[in-house]
């Protein structure tokens, strides 16, 4: 049996609830703005989720944050692998709480990040992007295309799935005159351009401390 619909009519949290309470073995496909995610259910739980570049609980959270899109429920489809162990209701509640907190904070955080990080000697430019590559706050060199940088962030996440991890701490590019740091922070990607005078480990420690303080 296949059921299709719109997330505006039936929220994903409700779809999860129905499938878990009824102990369905099912696959739910969610499509929104060129992104496609999958949720698998068995024994009254969510057992696996994918929304590239995320897998597991993070993928569930990302899917729950999608405001619009379409869904398709296919009964009897087994999960290809098991990536989720926590009870479904904890995952949904935690995710919704995190999404809510993020929405509340999202307006002021980029400004704080830029104000605090730009004090570091050697930092030239800072930009905060959303995952699609839109510049939310800050400024980057003209020749850097923000969508290209988000693409690089996405590819890094994809590379890391080969290592069975999705949590990257940071990445940086280097040429003969600068570093370009790519750091995922909450629902954004922070891009920092520095000169080569900085010590990477010291700088990263400083950035971590600042970001920890903000969150």
């Amino acid at each position: 049996m296949v059921l299709v619909g719109n997330l505006k009519d039936l929220r994903l949290a409700n779809i999860i609830q129905i499938n878990c309470i009824e102990r369905n073995v099912a696959k739910v496909t969610v499509s929104s703005h060129n992104r496609q995610g999958y949720l698998y259910f068995a024994d009254g739980q969510i057992v696996h989720a994918e929304l590239s570049p995320y897998i597991g609980e993070k993928a569930v959270r990302e899917m729950l944050s999608l405001a619009d899109g379409k869904f398709k429920v296919e009964a009897g489809v087994q999960a290809p692998t098991l990536t989720i162990k926590r009870p479904w209701n904890s995952i949904v509640l935690d995710s919704l709480r995190e999404i809510d907190e993020k929405n509340q904070q999202s307006t002021s955080i980029p400004k704080q990040v830029i104000a605090l990080l730009s004090e570091y000697k050697g930092v030239k430019n800072i930009g905060v992007l959303d995952f699609s590559g839109k510049l939310i706050e800050g400024k980057l060199s003209e020749e850097l295309n923000t969508h290209s940088l988000s693409f690089v962030w996405y590819k890094i996440k994809k590379i890391l799935t080969l290592f069975y991890t999705e949590n990257f701490r940071y990445a940086y590019l280097r040429n003969h005159w600068s570093y370009l740091f790519i750091i995922e922070f909450q629902a954004s990607v922070i891009i920092i351009e520095t000169d080569l005078s900085i010590f990477v480990n010291d700088f990263v420690r400083y950035v971590s401390r600042i970001l920890k303080g903000i969150s």
Binding site: H33, R35, N145, H147, K155, F168, A171, R174
Partner: protein, 148 residues
């Protein structure tokens, strides 16, 4: 070839794998520590081709990408015809990897052995920046980047 040129790195505790991959996504040579899954190298090359391919448009000449994640680090260096990948645990100092690579690379790139291998490799001239090699999300990025 890796054992010959990167002996220091292969003997360093914490280095798990090293690979030389041509920009045609063909494995030139690889070395792995006993517990490392070599299949990773087969799937990883195309991603780097795409990353550096996109960045090339910025004319920033980025030649090095270091990814630090919760289980370690992936150091990548781009050369004219190939990528060098070093996969290591967190405890390995990235500066040491960079230094080892800097010392060895001039000899490696100009070595007759490497040139011979590259010459023998079939060149299909594939462009991995086209739709066939991109997932839907990547295609969406490309529409905004305006590469396709």
């Amino acid at each position: 070839m890796i054992k010959e040129f990167f002996k220091d790195l292969t003997q360093l505790d914490g280095v798990e794998g090293i690979a030389l991959i041509s920009k045609d996504n063909r494995m030139i040579d690889s070395w792995e520590a006993p517990n490392f899954d070599p299949k990773i190298f087969n799937e990883i090359g195309i991603n780097y081709y795409q990353i550096f391919g996109v960045l090339e448009k910025s004319e920033r000449d980025y030649h090095e990408l270091v990814i630090q994640h919760e289980k370690g680090q992936i150091y990548t260096r781009q050369f004219q015809e190939l990528f060098l990948l070093v996969i290591a645990r967190m405890k390995v100092d990235t500066a040491f990897i960079r230094l080892s690579v800097n010392v060895v690379v001039p000899d490696l790139v100009h070595s007759k052995k490497l040139q011979k291998i590259l010459k023998k490799m079939p060149r299909e001239g594939r462009n991995y920046l086209t739709r066939n090699y991109l997932d839907e999300t990547e295609q969406a990025y490309f529409k905004k980047i305006k590469l396709t």
